[in-house]
Structures are given as C-alpha cells and as structure tokens.
C-alpha cells in the first residue's frame, strides 16, 4: 500500500473516530433530499466581519470536514455551493458541544482529492 493510500486510510482514525478522537456526527443532505450520516470534523466559532465601514461586526465561521470516500459510501456526491436560487442547497447539520442543533448550507466546497477530504465552508440556513 502506497503512502497516499495509507494516509487516506488513516482518515478513518483522524476524522471519523468519535470515541477517542475529534470525530463528530454530521448529517449532509443533497439538493434532491438524499441524506447521509457521517462522522467528521465540525467547527463553529466567532469570527469578526469587516464590512469596510471601519467598524467590525461579530459573526460566526462554521465549517465541516468529511472523508470523500465516506460520502460515496452513503450515496452522496461531492457537496458544492449552489448559486442558483431555484435549487435547494446542500445542507449540513450538526449539534454544538452543548447539544444545540444547527443547520447550515454549503457556501463553498474545497475538496482535497489527493488526500481524500473535503472542507465545507458553511452559512446558517433557516
């Protein structure tokens, strides 16, 4: 097994270990309504926004990282940001550490096809 295959295989321990690692349950829904339950990294922290008026606005930055092979396993394609307002966006849902559920849409998808992970930049979705 080559080093890249080993690295991809290690994602199971690095990304998807929710028992002793940082793995966290994440639900992803595609525009057709197909839903898959995965384990990956999720992130939701405060982030300042600079609208260039000279005054910053407190905001939030949320993201998720999942293994591409696990997306395929649950029957999902690679998530992507949907610009067309006539189509449902890709939806990502996860709880914060205190159990509050949050729902986001995928604003931007940054796949790393060499290593086999995709980083999803998220926007709040109501």
């Amino acid at each position: 097994m080559g080093i890249r295959q080993i690295a991809e295989s290690d994602l199971g321990l690095i990304l998807e270990d929710s028992t002793t690692g940082f793995g966290w349950p994440i639900t992803i829904t595609d525009p057709d309504g197909t839903t898959g339950s995965l384990t990956g990294f999720s992130d939701d922290i405060a982030q300042v926004i600079d609208p260039e008026t000279g005054q910053i606005v407190s905001g939030r930055l949320a993201s998720a990282v999942v293994r591409i092979s696990s997306l395929t396993t649950v029957g999902l394609a690679l998530p992507r940001g949907i610009a067309d307002a006539n189509i449902k966006p890709w939806i990502v849902e996860f709880d914060d550490i205190n159990g509050t559920a949050w729902k986001f849409k995928v604003a931007q998808s940054n796949p790393d096809r060499m290593l086999g992970v995709v980083s999803l930049l998220l926007e709040l979705y109501q």
């Binding site: 910053i56 606005v57 407190s58 905001g59 939030r60 930055l61 949320a62 067309d84 979705y125 109501q126």
Partner: protein
C-alpha cells in the same frame, strides 16, 4: 476669561442626534403606514444608533433578528469665514456618515432557496433607499431645525464590497450615505457691564443757545 460655563451642545451634535431621531421616528411611522396598507411592517424597520464603535454583537448572538442596522456618526467640519462673523457665529459645512448594515441569512424558499449574500446586499440597498428618502423628504428640508440648518444634501452613497476571504454564517454588507449639512455654530459671548444711568435734557434758549442739563449719580 470666559465667565459662563460652556454647558450646551454644539450644533453638529444637535444635528447628529436629530438625523438619528428623524430616521427612527420615520421608520416607526412607515411601519405603521405599512401595517395599515396590509404590508409587512418589518420591511420598514431600522435599528438606529449614533456614534457606536463596538462590534454589532447581536448579529452573532441573535441570528433571528436581521433588522438592518444604521449608525449615524459625525465625520468632519469646515468653516467658511466669508459667511461668518469673527465674534459670534461660524458658518459650518459638516459631513455626517450614515452607515447601513444589511444582514442576510440563507433560507428555504419553496423549491429553491434565498441566498444570504444576495439578501444582505438587497437589505443594505433597501436601507440606503429608506434613509435617503426620509432625510431628503420635503418635510425635512431643514432637518426640522429651521433657523439652524440652511441646507442638507446627500453627497454620496457607497456600497462596500462584501468580504471574500472567508465565508461567515451570516452575510453582512455595509454601505454609507454621506450627508453634507450647512449650519451655524455659535460661541460664548462677552458679558457686558451695565452702563451708568445718565439722563440728559437738551433745550434751546431764547437767544438760540443750546443748553444741556445732565443728571447722573457719581461718587
């Protein structure tokens, strides 16, 4: 020495507060009119502040309230000596920045969705529209300060480019309406001393001589 306490607001402070008061009052008034016309009053709602520099944290901690934010702040003044006098009145032309923040959160819309980036841009432009229309309404030709304000004029509108380096969960777009206002500033005046009372009576004598009789207290 100046003998009186300088305990007043300068005209630029009065005008800054007046702009904010007009915006808030008219926003509420528009909401009421919208309600009577069967429209959603939220489309005319504004959160108005003056001179705020702390971050707008409610965007982070209250994501359900996406009412646009308006911040009125004084920027600068120039003084025109040709229309002033050197002792009491300084004609001023001042800039007031009215910053508007539109907040957009993506949401479901039937078979599709409303994107937050578009929503934020539309919200800030709607806010600029409201602010300019209110302040340039003929009812506020002198910002309801006739005698103090000579002219108010919208100098420019700038919508700032949304940030593209990172995507936050709420989209925020900022814009600025720059208002120029001409008005007078006034300065403390010398307190005059009361003159001695003096009365005179002027008469013309029969020979034509002018006779002045003066009466005054002296020590």
């Amino acid at each position: 020495m100046i003998t009186t306490l300088i305990d007043k607001q300068d005209s630029f402070e009065i005008i800054r507060d007046q702009i904010a008061a007009i915006l808030k009052t008219e926003s509420l008034n528009q909401m009421q009119i919208a309600g009577t016309e069967g429209k959603d009053p939220q489309g005319w709602a504004l959160r108005v502040y003056t001179e705020r520099s702390n971050p707008w944290e409610q965007v982070l901690n209250d994501p359900t309230d996406n009412t646009p934010i308006v911040n009125v702040w004084f920027s600068d003044s120039t003084f025109d000596p040709s229309t002033s006098n050197i002792s009491e009145r300084q004609a001023s032309e001042s800039t007031f920045n009215i910053d508007c923040y539109g907040i957009g959160v993506s949401r479901d819309d039937g078979d599709g969705h409303i994107p937050g980036d578009k929503e934020a841009a539309f919200e800030t432009q709607r806010t600029i529209r409201l602010v300019r229309n209110i302040l340039m309404a003929s009812e506020y030709t002198y910002l309801a300060l006739r005698g103090l304000v000579w002219q108010r004029w919208p100098q420019s509108v700038t919508v700032f480019q949304p940030q593209s380096d990172s995507t936050t969960v709420q989209q925020v777009v900022g814009s600025r309406l720059t208002m120029r206002v001409k008005f007078n500033e006034f300065s403390p005046q010398y307190e005059h001393q009361t003159l001695e009372l003096l009365s005179t009576t002027m008469t013309r004598a029969g020979d034509g001589q002018i006779v002045v009789a003066a009466e005054y207290d002296y020590t």
